[in-house]
Structure formats: C-alpha cells, structure tokens
Subunit: 153 residues, 4 copies
Amino acid sequence: MIAIDAMLSSRINPPEYHLQDYAEALDALIECAAACTLCADACLGETGKVEQLRGCITMNLDCADVCATTVRLLSRQTQPPNQLIHAQMHACVVACQLCADQCAMHPMHKHCKICAEICHICRAEICHICQEHCNFLLGTITSAGIAEEKSSI
Amino acid sequence: MIAIDAMLSSRINPPEYHLQDYAEALDALIECAAACTLCADACLGETGKVEQLRGCITMNLDCADVCATTVRLLSRQTQPPNQLIHAQMHACVVACQLCADQCAMHPMHKHCKICAEICHICRAEICHICQEHCNFLLGTITSAGIAEEKSSI
Amino acid sequence: MIAIDAMLSSRINPPEYHLQDYAEALDALIECAAACTLCADACLGETGKVEQLRGCITMNLDCADVCATTVRLLSRQTQPPNQLIHAQMHACVVACQLCADQCAMHPMHKHCKICAEICHICRAEICHICQEHCNFLLGTITSAGIAEEKSSI
Amino acid sequence: MIAIDAMLSSRINPPEYHLQDYAEALDALIECAAACTLCADACLGETGKVEQLRGCITMNLDCADVCATTVRLLSRQTQPPNQLIHAQMHACVVACQLCADQCAMHPMHKHCKICAEICHICRAEICHICQEHCNFLLGTITSAGIAEEKSSI
C-alpha cells in the first residue's frame, strides 16, 4: 500500500527502526483484518454448513478486532514504544495463529483457505517487527551499557 | 490489495455488482482509515503547532472511525444491501470530504497533504459504489416493472 | 453510568446543550453496541437455528459497529459539531431501527427480545439528541438573525 | 448496566463462571473505553497545555481501542475460551495500568483524575476475571485428573 509508506515517511519524526518493515507490518495487519471480516461473512453465507463453521466465524471476528486494534497502536509513534505495544503484538500473534488454524480446517471453502494464508503472513510480519523492536531496545540497552562502562573507566 | 480481491471472488455468492469496483472501494476505505490514524498521530507530533492542528486531529480520528465502520458494513454481503449501508456511505462521504478539507488547510505538513489526497480518492470511490448500488437497485426495479407489465398483458 | 456523567462535567468546555441528555445518549449507545455484540454471539449459539438467524447476526454486527463509531464521534466535543455528526447519527438511527426490527422477529429467543428493546431505547435517545442539536443550531441562527436585524435597525 | 446483565443471563448457554462477575467486567471495560475517549478529547481541549498532554492523549486513545477489543472478545462466549482471550486480557491490564499512570500525572485536570480512577477499577475487574478463568480451567484440569485417576484404579 503506497499510502501507508508515504504517510510513514512524511512524519517529522519517522520511526527509528526500518521503515519498510514497519509499513509491511501495517499492510499485513490491515489486510488480515479485512480478510477476517470477509471470511466471517462468507462463512455465514455457506448454507447448510454454518453451524460447522461457528468456531471459524467467532475466530474470524476476534482476529479482525485484534488486528484492527494492533494497527491503531502501531500507527501511534509520537510516543516511544511501551510494554503495551508488546503485549498487544503478542495477543495479535496468538489471534493470527489460532485463526489460521481454524481456517485451515476447512480448505474446501476457498475463502477459509485464502484467509488462513493471509493470517500466516500477518503473523510472520508481526513476529518480525517484534524482533526488530527487541533488537532496537537491546541495542539501546547495550549502547547505554557500553557508554556507562566507558564513563566508569 | 490482492487479498481483498481474492477474498471477494472466493465467495459462493459474490456481490452482484462489479467485483473490481467493490474491491477498489474497500481498498480505498482501508487505506483512508489507516492514513487518518497516522495523520492524527503525526499532527500530535508537530511540536509547537499541535494546538493549531486540533481541528485536524479530531477530524482525522473521526474519519478513521467512520471509514473503519463503513469497511465492516460493506464487507458483509451475505444479506442484501439495506438502507443502513446507504446512510453509512453517506456519513463516510461527508467524513472524507471534511477531513480532506481540514488536511488541505495545512499543506506545509506533508502528512496532511498526502492524507488529503487519500481522503479525496476514498470519497470518489464511495460515491462510485453508491451510484452502482443505486443503478443496480434501479435495474432491479425496472426489470421488475417490465416483468410486471408483461405479466399483466 | 456515573463515569460518563462525571467525565462530561469535568471538561473545561462542557457541551453547550443539556449535559444530562448527552450522557444518557452516550450511555444508550454504549449499551446498544454491547447488547448487539452479545446478541450476535448468542444467535450463533442457537444450535439448529443459526441459519434462520443469519440476517439477525449480520444486523447485530452492523449495529454494534455503527453505535461504537457514533459514541466515538459524539464523545469528541472539543471542536464544534459539524455535518458529519448529523450524518452519522442518521446512520445510527437507521441501524437501531433495522436491528430492532430484525430482533423483534424472533421474540422466542430472549436475547433477541431484550436486544430489540435496547435498540429502541437507543434510537429514541439519538433522535432526542439530534433534535436538541437542531434546536441549538436553530437557536444560534435565530439569535444571530435577531442580532442582525437589531444591528441593521 | 442492567442491559448487559439481562443479555448475559438470556443466553441458552450462559458462561460457566460467575455471571455477575462477568457482567461487572464487561461494564468496567465499556466504561473505561468511553472514559478514555472522552479524556483524550478533553486533553485536546486544554488550551495552552496540549503539548504537555501528548503522552496522555496517545495512551488514552490506545487504552480506548484495547478495551473496546477486549469487550468484543469477552462478549463472544459461544466458543470455549482460548489462549487469545488470556493474551488480550493481559494486554488490557497493561493498557489500563499505563493509562492510569499517565492520567494520574495530571490530577489538576479533573478529567484525567477521574479517568485514572476508572482505569484502575477496570484493571482490577479484568484481573479478577483472569483469575476466575484460571481457577475454572484449573478446576477442569483437576476434575479431569481425578476422573482419570479414578478410572485408572
């Protein structure tokens, strides 16, 4: 999504970690939220099979809500990242995993099959950003540590 | 967004109006919601100018919420469209117009400039879908009328 | 909800129209959004009847989203009300009406029966606020008109 | 909120843990989401102090989103609780704590003071439900274990 990319790089204080990765994670989350909303509705339209798909519908609705909230939190970058963003990303990884699992149980429904793939991609992107966050924080701590060590010599 | 396209065409009962237009409208709405959330936060980060941007921040937050809800409603296609979808699309057109106007007042902030453009595109896409909906409904009424006329002969 | 009341009256610039009515409208919307989310899920749990309740589930999900967004917009009062708030309140009135109608079709399901009542109350509260808004605007216009007339004498 | 209570007890499959506690947790979350949205807007209205309140505004917006999503997930009870609900409740407890801390830093703004209290109440309610969930799961595991032991005799 070109828009997200352009919006992120137009900030006076762009995020310190790799911009491209950030934009990709937001894209993946947005796509996943949309796919889950569409899959829930498509499942509800599967005449004769709706009751078997109840678990999938609920999981889709949950995953759509969780991804939407995670996008909101990740979009707010004026303040430095805090524990909340980590806890919410963790919830999001769980949501994407469970939703992918549920959808993968009904590959005969093409919408479930595609949705499972989208959830998997989203999960991977969030994990990647989580790791970057951690590396970034680790870098800050390490440099602080080195600076401290140096200054204590 | 390939995902939206694939999800829409995977339904057993795909929407009756032009699929490509539908996917584009969902894309535009999703992008607009994301851009508005990012613009609100970027405005909040404009040290020394935040108070001048209060109207813009509020409008961005409103527009993000309205677009997000409109995506949800447009994604639910198992049931035939009703008056609600029209009323919500109307609210969305108003939101995009007002948000574009607000953002266009601060072109010196690049994020506002880009966000204004995205809101304009979104507004146009929703108007287009609204018109298709109307034409489709009109078509249904007309064919029903013709069928009725014929049957009454 | 005492919290909403306390929050509204704690502002440095409380809304100009009757505070109590405002708090009641927010309460009604919040309650309606929650009831609709609960009703959608309870319908999904009605083994053997889910397919008959598909229209109700969809309408509940739509109404929950629309009410949630209307709460957000009505809560933002730092900026003067604009056309968007009217358009969104209109969409909300339609949502509550349609959802009440859908739920009222299945009074044998207690959750649908209660949800219909909550939607009706919410619809009435929003209509009331809409009217106050209009009266307030009308008052402004009238006083402006009178002031203008006086000044032109 | 009588509505939530009535909706919960009207289900054909009411939640297995204590209904009253559940209703109170939903109430607290809903109230917290509303209070945070109102506080963010009230902070934005504090002329001359908005820039000092940026951290508070962002935290309020985040907490409102997280609480809203947690309400949605907790409302869906047709399916048995899974890891997601725990992860999301954890994120919610973090959000309420951080938001209460931020708001408590500006007790001179009455809306921040009240919002801090509401966040604290919400945090306590979610912790309580989390514990009940765990006890319930523990109970299930224990009884299963005892049943297994008995059957193996």
